[in-house]
């Protein structure tokens, strides 16, 4: 990847209208690294869901609290870290949306989409700092949902 070593960091306040700013950066970074439109879109979608969770469930819509997004390209691997200033949560408590009893629930699909579109997803919580989501995607593996995971 010609963009090896690229690093971008963005900090936003906890407003839903800021989500798209971070999503667009993710998509442009992927496109600049040679990923096609579909592949870039799915990475952008994962970032959108992660930032939305950080704003809503992490920072609980407190606009004084920030969400940090860091993008780093190591070879063909894109590493994305989304951090909030919230109290943290156990992602394992979120029910599997494919479970028939959860199928018709109106929420609980964000983390599932993140895990679907990215290769690796890790949550960590540092008391006094907040929750961080580290996710990676090998951009050389090709895009998306359609060709990869369906």
């Amino acid at each position: 990847m010609e963009r090896d070593g690229e690093r971008i960091e963005i900090t936003i306040s906890s407003r839903f209208e800021n989500i798209e700013l971070v999503q667009v950066v993710a998509e442009h970074l992927c496109e600049n690294a040679g990923v096609d439109e579909d592949g870039s879109h799915w990475v952008g979608m994962a970032v959108r869901e992660a930032v939305a969770n950080a704003i809503k469930h992490g920072n609980k819509l407190d606009v004084r609290k920030k969400v940090d997004a860091t993008f780093e390209l190591h070879g063909s691997e894109l590493e994305i870290k989304i951090s909030d200033e919230g109290e943290g949560f156990d992602p394992e408590t979120v029910g599997d949306p494919l479970n028939p009893q959860n199928l018709m629930k109106t929420s609980g699909r964000g983390i599932f989409y993140i895990r679907t579109f990215m290769d690796e997803v890790q949550y960590s919580f540092n008391p006094g700092e907040g929750m961080s989501l580290l996710m990676t995607k090998d951009l050389a593996k090709g895009p998306g949902v359609a060709s990869g995971k369906m």
Binding site: F16, E17, I19, H41, M45, R48, E49, A52, K56, P97, L98, L103, M104, K105, T106, S107, R109, G110, F112, Y113, T116, G144, V145, A146, K149, M150
Partner: protein, 111 residues
């Protein structure tokens, strides 16, 4: 998000344009469905061709809308799914829940 409605043979065809995402469009969708039901319209066909972006909140609102309409004895079906929305419904297996049509006349006949 913008919504425009027309009635075709007793079916309310609601064309949605724009984003159905958290904080932008998701609540609007709920209001559109609630308003239609309160006006006695219970056969709803959502034309999704103009939806540019949808996220998990938007998907959740679609599911909620389906449940609300069904619980009131109505029917909610989808028309002209954009490819990416189709994929989001597939990976969550929600495609098995919704009736999806590519042809409006066929969709209207199905009610």
């Amino acid at each position: 998000m913008k919504a425009t409605s027309r009635n075709v043979g007793g079916v309310e065809v609601i064309k949605l344009d724009g984003k159905i995402t958290i904080g932008s469009g998701d609540q609007q969708l709920r209001e559109i469905i609630t308003n239609a039901l309160s006006q006695g319209k219970s056969k709803l066909l959502l034309d999704m061709s103009g939806v540019t972006t949808i996220d998990s909140s938007g998907i959740g609102e679609l599911v909620g809308s389906y449940t609300t309409v069904t619980n009131r004895g109505g029917k909610l079906k989808l028309l002209h799914l954009p490819a990416k929305l189709n994929e989001l419904l597939h990976v969550t297996q929600l495609i098995t829940v919704f009736e999806v049509y590519e042809n409006e006349q066929e969709a209207i006949k199905s009610f």
